[in-house]
Amino acid sequence: MVNFTVNGTVRAFDDDPDMPLLWYLRDDLRLTGTRFGCGAGLCGACTVHVDGLAVRSCQTPVRTLQNKRVVTIEGLSADGRHRVQRAWTTLNVAQCGYCQTGQIMTAAALLTRIANPSDQDIDQAMTGNICRCGTYQRIRSAVKAAAKEQA
């Protein structure tokens, strides 16, 4: 039995401990905002927060989550108005939108670590998140815009 929280709700997991968190979130909890993109930790579409750090949920077996705190895009803010989400909508960042929840989770974790990230900080944090539509320059602008707002 693995006990942890997802978006503040206590979960007790007793299925296959090798199951990646991604599939537990999507199939069991129906938190489908966390996306499947590569299954290999290469694209970042499945990014969630575990104890505040951005992790790839496709590479995180549930057995590693004992007493951890998981936050998904659905739990990032109560009203969908986290400063990163607001910056994303203001700048109309998304094209297809599929990868953007992962991008937002990575960006939100970055801003918790570094309040005013430089271009280099942003590149370093965000380069693991692929956007095939190519929205990178708007993502960079949105991260900067969110940084300017108070958390």
């Binding site: 296959d16 996306r35 994303w88 094209q95 937002i104 956007c131 190519g134 320059q137």
Partner: protein, 754 residues
């Protein structure tokens, strides 16, 4: 001159796989023609005022607008409704957008070819103007005043002399009783009164996207649904020799395995075949699949080797091919001697790699199938599914989710057919999920091409005769087994429509076999045709010691409409009438000139690892010029600090989404040029995921893409694809400017630039 094929992509698909009735939106079949037994109704058609399949108004004032084109990131789901809402004089906050199911009443739904705006702008204007006209008539009747004294304004009808107002919702019951006015009776708003078209607006789905609520194909769940992961034959057309599924079935949650037949050629959009692992969760299906042991009979394509195939293509284009355009007399001019330039260009296979891999849910019940899928073409889903399970396509309902990228891949509904076949066999709803490895291994690839160019030039370096010849495994092979020659539309994309003002031009194409599935990828054959032609134009400029931009403008001449028909070319012009959408080189000149201005062309001398390159290309009836800036370090690593994109797409409906498409096309082009390569050994694709099929990431994407929209009253045209081809050539030209090294082959990762 050889016979010129005269089958356009549309006609061809219409005849062979019939992707749906190609009726114009204005000529939709009456509602009764399709709806018998079909339980699905849009809210628009359930609303009392429903003068168009695209639009309905409810008595509470809610306006429902149906988008029948698929949303894969272009913003079309927002943009077409904006057109209708503008003519309706609607309050945008009271508009609800619905996604249409696959249904020929909407007209064509194949969201490819950058033509949603081009083909449906008028239909959506009509829908909005029709409803507005009926609401105004209802108000005038109620007030007993002439209609000419009434006007529509922000969801209300106003009686101008008295200032009386009635809301749209209030007027719905009376308006719904009126006859629908004929199209020619409609009055349209003058451009000065447009409220949404040409204005900055937010994309409809942004808030759902940033909160994770947006629903893509993978996000569909049905009661009792099982999950399927399919091991496909590693070589196209391969069949199962033996299966050992004991390990797979021992995995907790795995219910069974199912053998799927390999398609009978041509492969069309049929399932590839293979072995499906069925489980009660995605994870169990994936885990079970790892334990599956399958041996294969590889079949005819097991000898496909990319290295040898490249050499074959390069050799094919050195030999005379079939002639598709023959202006003047190239051979006579060549025979005169003089300075000759020659170059051969090569581009590899590439994968679409949309972030959401192919996925679909299908539910077979009582001889009918319901599909939920991220598809660019729900009518093709109906046809492919119907063929796969042996029912009439009218018994297939296709709901279209948002698409996590498409780029052409999701026009081909093989994955939907897989889900339907499995659902029929299992008697349960089935979700088929492709892994990234499945997607990279079994794409309908962007084809590999060789393009040969030869020209004789005059004293100023301008070509007096120009021969160009391409060879590539054609998209035709997807529709006709063993086809070695392209459909003519594949050559209409950047080969026969070479826009330069040269007295003698010959365009040829040579045969090539397809050993993998070939499909259309964003901008299709424009990519390699444009890369080669506009690189070669730059080679001419450099050989003459002339400025690239000045040379290109000279090469285009003063500007004119090119009449290919007069040259004996049956040019399909992206399915659009050439009279309305001519090849106008004045527009190419304008985008080039503007791109030069905006880039500061000529202000700083290229060289020493820094350089600017320029190219312009007309595709999908839209004109784009690109200036690419490169910075190349001592190790040969290429950075792209900036790209200027200038686009003339006629009337711009949604400027922000046009900019977004131009930004994204530039990023995709640079990624494709850098590392976009799929290779085969023994018929098996060597790449598998984003580690070895690399796409642009933030740190190697162009740093800044600036987009300039040309002000225009010309008919609106599409922007999903045309931003890509000129960037490929401009990038190569920039690398030459920076280093003196000419890029004739992609990807750059294989070139030595240091």
């Amino acid at each position: 001159m050889s016979a010129i094929q005269n089958v356009s992509r549309r006609e061809f698909l219409g005849g062979v796989v019939s992707t749906g009735a190609f009726v114009l939106a204005a000529q939709v079949i009456p509602r009764s023609g399709w709806a018998q037994g079909a339980p699905f109704r849009t809210q628009a058609e359930s609303a009392p005022l429903n003068p168009s399949v695209y639009l309905g108004v409810r008595p509470d004032g809610t306006v429902f607008i149906v988008t029948h084109r698929s949303e894969m990131g272009t913003g079309i789901r927002t943009t077409l409704p904006q057109v209708a809402a503008d003519e309706l004089e609607a309050d945008w906050s009271r508009v609800t957008i619905e996604q249409g199911i696959g249904d020929p009443r909407y007209g064509d739904q194949n969201t490819d070819g950058s033509r949603s705006i081009r083909d449906f702008y008028e239909a959506f204007r009509h829908a909005g103007a029709t409803a507005r006209s009926m609401l105004v008539s209802a108000a005038a009747a109620q007030w007993k005043v002439p209609e000419s004294e009434c006007t529509a304004e922000n969801h209300e009808v106003v009686h101008m002399p008295s200032g009386r107002r009635l809301g749209y919702g209030t007027l719905v019951p009376a308006a719904a009783k009126l006859g629908v006015p004929k199209g020619e009776m409609l009055k349209f708003k003058p451009r000065t009164a447009w409220r949404f078209v040409g204005k900055e607006t937010s994309t409809y789905d942004q808030q759902d996207i940033v909160t994770g609520k947006a629903q893509f194909g993978l996000d569909v769940f049905r009661d009792g649904m099982v999950h399927a992961s399919i091991e496909h034959p590693p070589v196209l057309g391969g069949t199962i020799r033996s299966v050992d599924d004991s390990g797979a079935r021992a995995v907790k949650g795995v219910m069974q395995t199912v053998r799927l037949d390999t398609f009978k050629p041509p492969h069309l959009f049929q399932p590839l075949g293979g072995v499906a692992v069925i489980a009660n969760s995605t994870w169990s299906a994936l885990k079970g699949r790892r334990q599956l042991k399958v041996e294969w009979n590889d079949g005819a394509h097991a000898g496909f080797e990319s290295v040898a195939f490249r050499n074959e293509l390069l050799s094919t284009v050195q030999k005379p091919g079939k002639v598709f355009r023959n202006l003047g007399n190239v051979d006579a001019e060549f025979a005169k001697g003089g300075k000759v330039l020659e170059a051969t260009y090569y581009t590899p296979l590439a994968a679409h790699a949309s972030m959401e891999p192919p996925a679909a849910v299908a539910e077979f019940r009582d001889g009918k199938v319901t599909v939920w899928a991220p598809t660019q073409n729900p009518q093709a889903v109906q046809e492919a599914v119907a063929a796969a399970v042996g029912i009439d396509k009218k018994e297939v309902t296709c709901h279209v989710t948002l698409l996590g990228g498409g780029f052409g891949r999701k026009s081909k509904p093989d994955y939907c057919a897989e889900a339907a076949v499995l659902s029929k066999q299992l008697g349960k709803p089935v979700k088929v999920i492709w892994t990234r490895e499945d997607d990279i291994h079994h794409d309908y690839y962007h084809t590999t091409a060789a393009v040969y160019h030869k020209a004789t030039v005059d004293g100023r370096g301008k070509p007096t005769a120009w021969l160009h010849r391409s060879a590539f495994p054609p998209i035709a092979s997807t529709f006709a087994a063993a086809a070695r020659e392209p459909l003519s539309f594949e050559l209409d994309l950047g080969l026969v429509d070479l826009p330069y003002d040269v007295a003698n031009i010959r365009a040829e194409n040579g045969p090539a076999d397809a050993h993998v599935r070939i499909g259309w990828f964003r901008a299709v054959s424009n990519n390699f045709h444009a890369f080669a032609a506009h690189s070669f134009a730059d080679e001419m400029a450099q050989a003459a010691g002339r400025d690239s931009l000045e040379f290109l403008l000279d090469l285009l001449g003063p500007g004119k409409e090119i009449d290919l028909k007069a040259q004996g070319v049956d040019y399909s012009n992206y399915g659009a009438p050439i009279e309305k959408y001519p090849i106008d080189t004045r527009r190419l000149r304008r985008v080039l000139e503007l791109a030069g201005e905006r880039a500061g062309w000529g202000k700083k001398k290229s060289g020493g690892g820094w350089g600017l390159g320029i190219a312009a290309h007309r595709s999908f009836n839209t004109y784009v010029a690109s200036v690419v800036e490169v910075q190349i370090d001592a190790r040969g690593a290429v950075q792209v600090p900036r790209i200027e994109q200038v686009v003339d797409a006629g009337v711009i409906v949604n400027p922000d989404r046009v900019r977004a498409q131009m930004e994204g096309s530039a990023v995709m082009a640079v990624g494709l040029a850098r590392t976009g390569e799929i290779t085969s050994v023994k018929g098996r694709i060597q790449q598998s995921n984003f580690n070895n099929f690399q796409v642009a990431r933030m740190n190697d994407a162009p740093r800044q893409v600036n987009v300039h929209l040309v002000e225009s009253d010309a008919l609106p045209t599409g922007v999903g694809e045309p931003g890509l081809p000129p960037v490929l050539a401009a990038l190569g030209n920039a690398i030459f400017a920076a280093t003196g090294k000419r890029v004739r082959e992609l990807p750059l990762s294989r070139q030595k630039l240091a």
